[in-house]
């Protein structure tokens, strides 16, 4: 960084910019501290409690907390820039103190200021990156999808397994611990960790359970695991967050977090109710292998006869696919 150059003999030793430098710094500091504290207090008290996605799960709570921390630390940075800019516009305007100094030491920048700015903002950004990552994965593992073998897993040893199947253009859910029934409804028990196994039967979708703080890509042939623990009962919205065709906008439904007893009752009743169709479904598997061949079959996941009797869409058929 540049050191301050010696002042040429022809230019003033110190530009007469109104009050002394210390006075300006003091004013700026006071303004910055007061406005920053006020902005943070307003945010924490008025906005913070309503920050999306809410407090329905540990993941959502963590995400909202992360967001609030980011904002509380970012506000002073923003205020600092604005205060300095407005102060300069008002106090050092040309009509008051004359034209900007050109080719003087005041126009050459300050190494101290620049290094301070770079170091402080770098430390802040690195801290927030580390803090945000830690908060997103603790204590229940990430709700963002970690692929088939998650790195960050929840502490509970037996989460409720829910398979989320995306297909143009709807979501269905399989419950392997309840006979593997598949339904349009998504119910979850409160205070129990859930492992979403997200996959797709056709194109790429994205499972976005907004209020749960869960958003995981649904890729064909891929099991994307995301965790969450509901801590409040109520409704939540599930949307597809990946443009997937004409009816992408209609690819949503509503889920519900209920008491453990209500969930157990619903799951067992649904298992009985759907037994006839569940018997026709393929065995539960982390992923399925849909054919590109839709109209002539393309069942999942076994690729055995009598499925796919003809190659209709030009896609290569797997061995044994008929």
């Amino acid at each position: 960084m540049t050191a301050e150059a010696p002042t040429p003999a022809s230019e003033p030793a110190a530009a007469p910019r109104g009050e002394g430098r210390a006075t300006h710094w003091l004013r700026l500091l006071i303004l910055w501290v007061v406005i920053s504290v006020a902005a943070d207090v307003v945010w924490i008290k008025l906005v913070g409690p309503h920050v999306p996605p809410g407090r329905m799960t540990d993941m959502a709570t963590g995400a909202a907390f992360d967001f609030n921390v980011l904002i509380v630390l970012a506000l002073p940075v923003m205020v600092g820039v604005w205060v300095y800019m407005l102060y300069a516009v008002i106090v050092w305007r040309a009509s008051k103190v004359g034209p900007d100094p050109v080719a003087t030491r005041f126009s050459r920048g300050s190494g101290t200021v620049e290094w301070t700015w770079i170091v402080l903002t770098t430390v802040l950004v690195l801290f927030l990156a580390g803090f945000g990552t830690y908060e997103l994965v603790q204590p229940g593992g990430s709700g963002g999808g970690q692929g088939p073998t998650p790195i960050w897993t929840p502490t509970t040893s037996s989460p409720l397994q829910v398979q989320v199947i995306g297909q143009q253009w709807k979501w269905t859910y399989r419950y392997p611990q309840f006979g593997g029934f598949e339904t349009n409804e998504l119910l979850l028990p409160v205070n129990q960790t859930v492992a979403f196994n997200v996959t797709s039967l056709d194109v790429i979708h994205s499972y976005w359970a907004y209020q749960l703080g869960v958003k995981a890509d649904a890729n064909p042939g891929y099991n994307n695991v995301a965790f969450t623990t509901p801590i409040q009962t109520g409704y939540f919205v599930v949307r597809c967050a990946e443009l997937c065709g004409l009816w992408h906008g209609a690819m949503f439904n509503e889920g519900r977090v209920v008491s453990a007893a209500a969930f157990e009752s619903w799951a067992k009743a649904t298992e009985r109710q759907l037994a006839e169709n569940t018997a026709l479904l393929p065995a539960y598997a982390p992923t399925y292998t849909p054919d590109a061949n839709g109209a002539a079959g393309g069942y999942y996941p076994d690729n055995k006869d009598p499925y796919s009797p003809v190659e209709m869409y030009g896609a290569p058929q797997p061995a044994g696919g008929g």
Partner: protein, 222 residues
């Protein structure tokens, strides 16, 4: 080239561009007509048919739904209007062939009155798509949880290939599926077929599956 020649070429190019723009805008803004159903005895009867190929321009090979208006005419549209909070009795004549489903989950009837439908007069709740002629299409309104599988006809039969197909004729095989549901409050409810039946498109979900007027549309509730 003389000044007149350059002027003529400019005019021709501009005219072609204008024609292109007009056709493009017209194509983009095109929507099929809406069939309006009025209640009789507090109920509405909606009648549709599915055909393996529409048989007419601009997409004669595309699979399609057609809707019968209250005057008994078949209209190539998937937009229809019903009154709110009214019993809707749906009859679908299914003229297309069938196949095993990509996901048997849609082989069951959901969301209808009685959680069932009838196939050629017999009540059913689930169709095993892996046996017989499989399933040709579904009629589904996802936001209302309604889904009914439409049993397929034999692919080796002489299937109707030019719409509209006559349900009263014995020339072409078809299945008759009926079911009822209660219309919700006012709004536009998208409905569609969930069988990836778009021949010639990747995963069977392009073309007619993504074009209003063919395998999906809107139920307008007023």
């Amino acid at each position: 080239m003389g000044k007149g020649g350059r002027l003529a070429i400019t005019i021709v190019v501009l005219a072609l561009a204008a024609v292109g723009i007009v056709f493009s805008v017209k194509a983009l803004l095109y929507t099929p007509s809406t069939v309006v159903y009025t209640p009789t005895n507090g109920q509405v009867n909606v009648t549709m048919q599915t055909v393996g190929s529409y048989g007419h321009a601009p997409n004669p090979t595309w699979v399609s739904y057609l809707t019968e208006n209250q005057q008994g005419q078949w209209v190539h549209t998937t937009l229809w209007q019903v009154p709110a909070h009214t019993r809707v009795n749906v009859t679908i004549y299914q003229f297309d062939s069938g196949s095993p489903l990509r996901n048997q989950q849609i082989g069951q009837v959901t969301g209808t009155l009685g959680k069932s439908a009838t196939l050629n007069g017999a009540t059913f709740k689930v169709i095993n798509s892996n046996i017989g002629n499989g399933i040709g299409h579904t009629f589904s309104i996802p936001t209302l949880g309604i889904s009914v599988p439409l049993a397929g006809n034999s692919g080796s039969a002489n299937l109707c290939a030019v719409a509209p197909c006559s349900p009263s004729s014995t020339a072409y095989p078809h299945n008759t599926i009926t079911f009822s549901f209660t219309s919700p409050g006012p709004g536009n409810y998208p409905w569609q077929c969930f069988v990836p039946c778009a021949l010639g498109f990747l995963y069977g979900n392009g073309g007619p599956m993504q074009t209003v007027g063919y395998m999906g549309g809107f139920m307008k509730v007023v």
